[in-house]
């Protein structure tokens, strides 16, 4: 019974808000601004979806300077090599956008597990015959001349900060 009431309430809220829509199908923005003014980043879906967007808690799995060290090691190890990887979702051959590391284009030290770092990792894993996940595993780090404990925290974010 309680669930039924909940569903009815949800439907009512949805219908009330639907009624606020403009007659021509355009939604009314509660802030009074035109919906076309939304930030450009939201206006387009990402061009390539192969790389993983990282959450705040995943970022906290790494040591403060850990990813910088990884990016520096990748630049060093990919230097002068053709580092191209395909993008499953993009389809077709690799483009300039998926060229990383080599040809005097170092991996920028952003200290984030961003797109360029994941592509560089995938290119390096491919060159070493390692599983191509595009994500840092311990063997990939060792072959890059890093100890896993230089990049990863021993304690997990949930253990350090608790679960909220």
């Amino acid at each position: 019974m309680h669930r039924l009431i909940s569903i009815i309430c949800a439907a009512l809220v949805t219908l009330t808000l639907a009624a606020c829509a403009h007659p021509n199908g355009e939604r009314r923005d509660p802030s009074g601004t035109d919906s076309n003014e939304r930030p450009a980043a939201k206006a387009r879906p990402p061009k390539r979806l192969e790389t993983m967007s990282t959450s705040k808690t995943t970022q906290q799995m790494f040591k403060p300077e850990g990813l910088k060290k990884l990016q520096a090691a990748l630049s060093q190890n990919l230097d002068g090599k053709e580092a191209r990887v395909g993008d499953h979702n993009a389809g077709g051959p690799p483009t300039d956008d998926t060229k990383v590391g080599g040809n005097g284009k170092p991996v920028e030290q952003t200290n984030k597990l961003d797109r360029q770092t994941q592509l560089a990792l995938q290119a390096y894993q491919k060159s070493q015959g390692l599983p191509e996940t595009g994500l840092p595993d311990y063997e990939t780090l060792r072959r890059l001349g890093l100890k896993p404990e230089e990049v990863f925290e021993h304690e997990l974010p949930a253990e350090r900060h608790g679960v909220k």
């Binding site: 909940s6 309430c9 949800a10 809220v13 949805t14 808000l17 639907a18 606020c20 829509a21 355009e26 939604r27 509660p30 802030s31 919906s35 076309n36 939304r38 980043a41 939201k42 206006a43 387009r44 879906p45 990402p46 979806l49 192969e50 993983m52 967007s53 990282t54 959450s55 705040k56 808690t57 995943t58 906290q60 799995m61 499953h88 979702n89 599983p131 191509e132 996940t133 595009g134 994500l135 840092p136 595993d137 311990y138 063997e139 896993p148 404990e149 990863f152 925290e153 021993h154 304690e155 997990l156 974010p157 949930a158 253990e159 608790g162 679960v163 909220k164």
Partner: protein
């Protein structure tokens, strides 16, 4: 001249050798001979063991496969080496007893396992394994499970419950060991809906999985947590990526942190499932983002789903299916955002609670759908996650007022206490 008694061994001595009479010299040929035989026996033993090793390994592999309850197994060949200590089996198959199609539940083209030699000298057991071209078939809702398999599954469940999910306690019962690395290359997982006569299948191909640093004792871990990374392709269209870390030896309950992302899954590829379950044919692209965090038994997680350019069509000419498709498409139109070129329906589902009893919260989910449609579009990626948690439990009206306020970050998950 007094005659001198000649001892038998002196006969063999060279007459011109000045040391021929010394007892040390006299023992030499005997020692040499003993060494010669010892080496010969050792070499013969090594050859015999080497010849017998592979058949022995094959025998024990088959015995091991026969001991798995509810399944029968076979393999192509087994090879073992002592230096370095390695074991390799090819064409490994496990078939569930009574399976009418005799389709392997597990097939591994090559399984390589071994011990790290230099760690053995330090008295540590450190192992690694690699599975190449492995295929796993999971039948969901299977009714014809052999009673022995059901019993074994129930027993395993009872064992886990006995330790109250305390993995450190469970692991302390096994040999001190560290699995340095477990790799899966070119793996495949197929999920079959056994409840439907058409047996619709969901495929995850090209799986590349790495599991690092699984230790059964704290002193054996390498000052880093257990790590899991995975990349796979779902239904040949969506890319699945997972990254997680865990502390399975944490006191009380295991701790873990991680995320999963499925991007670009074409809904058309789910036709078999959707037609079987709902009688509709979906169109559009699905992206899903999951993050999870757990320590000391408390769990917090979020699931965000976005469907772009969604449309439903009836799977058959039946009136019921056509009606379902029309209502569904209408609902999608109402609930999708108005971001040009996207038209996405988005929702975030917060999950809070204890590891054994997680609670998926309905109202913050409903409000997030409404917010995406009317207030502020949900971003692609993990930018809106984790969903903020309200400091104290809120009533529905307060949740709605805050959740639909553009100035607020979005609907808040409700604390469990």
């Amino acid at each position: 001249m007094p005659s001198r008694a000649i001892k038998p061994y002196e006969v063999t001595a060279h007459p011109g050798d000045p040391t021929a009479d010394s007892p040390r010299h006299r023992r030499k040929p005997l020692v040499k001979r003993v060494w010669f035989w010892l080496v010969l026996v050792a070499v013969a033993l090594v050859i015999a063991v080497r010849i017998a090793l592979n058949p022995l390994a094959a025998h024990f592999t088959q015995r091991g496969l026969d001991s798995i309850t509810g399944y029968h197994g076979s393999f192509g060949s087994v090879a073992v080496s002592v230096v370095p200590p390695r074991y390799r089996v090819t064409d490994l198959k496990l078939i569930q007893d009574g399976d009418e199609h005799q389709e392997p539940a597990v097939y591994v083209k090559t399984l390589d396992a071994g011990l790290v030699g230099r760690k053995l000298f330090k008295g540590q057991l450190v192992a690694s394994a690699s599975l190449q071209d492995a295929k796993f078939v999971v039948k969901v809702g299977q009714t014809k499970v052999p009673p022995e398999a059901k019993e074994a599954a129930d027993k395993a469940k009872r064992e886990v419950q006995k330790d109250n999910l305390d993995l450190s306690k469970t692991l302390s019962k096994v040999v001190p060991l560290r699995a340095d690395r477990i790799e899966l290359r070119q793996g495949e997982v197929v999920m079959i809906d056994a409840t439907d006569p058409k047996l619709p299948r969901l495929w995850v191909n090209d799986i590349e999985l790495v599991l690092d640093n699984l230790a059964t004792r704290r002193r054996l871990d390498e000052n880093v947590p257990l790590s899991l990374t995975l990349r796979g392709v779902v239904q040949r269209t969506g890319v699945l990526k997972v990254m997680a870390a865990a502390d399975v030896l944490a006191d009380d309950k295991p701790a873990f942190t991680g995320q999963a992302q499925l991007s670009g899954l074409k809904l058309e590829s789910l036709y078999e499932w959707a037609a079987a379950k709902a009688g509709v044919s979906p169109h559009g692209t699905l992206d899903a983002f999951v993050n999870f965090n757990s320590a000391k038994g408390a769990l917090s997680g979020n699931v965000k789903v976005m469907v772009r350019e969604a449309k439903l069509e009836p799977a058959t000419d039946k009136v019921g299916d056509e009606l379902k498709a029309k209502i569904g498409t209408m609902a999608l139109k109402v609930l999708s955002d108005r971001v040009e070129g996207r038209e996405a329906v988005g929702a975030t589902l917060p999950i809070r609670g204890q590891l054994q009893s997680p609670d998926a919260q309905v109202w913050p989910t409903v409000l997030s759908v409404v917010r995406n449609a009317f207030v502020d579009a949900i971003d692609w990626g993990f930018r809106d996650l984790p969903t903020p948690t309200a400091p104290e439990r809120q009533g529905l009206l307060k949740q709605a007022a805050e959740g639909l306020d553009k100035k607020e970050p979005g609907p808040k998950a409700q604390p469990t206490k």
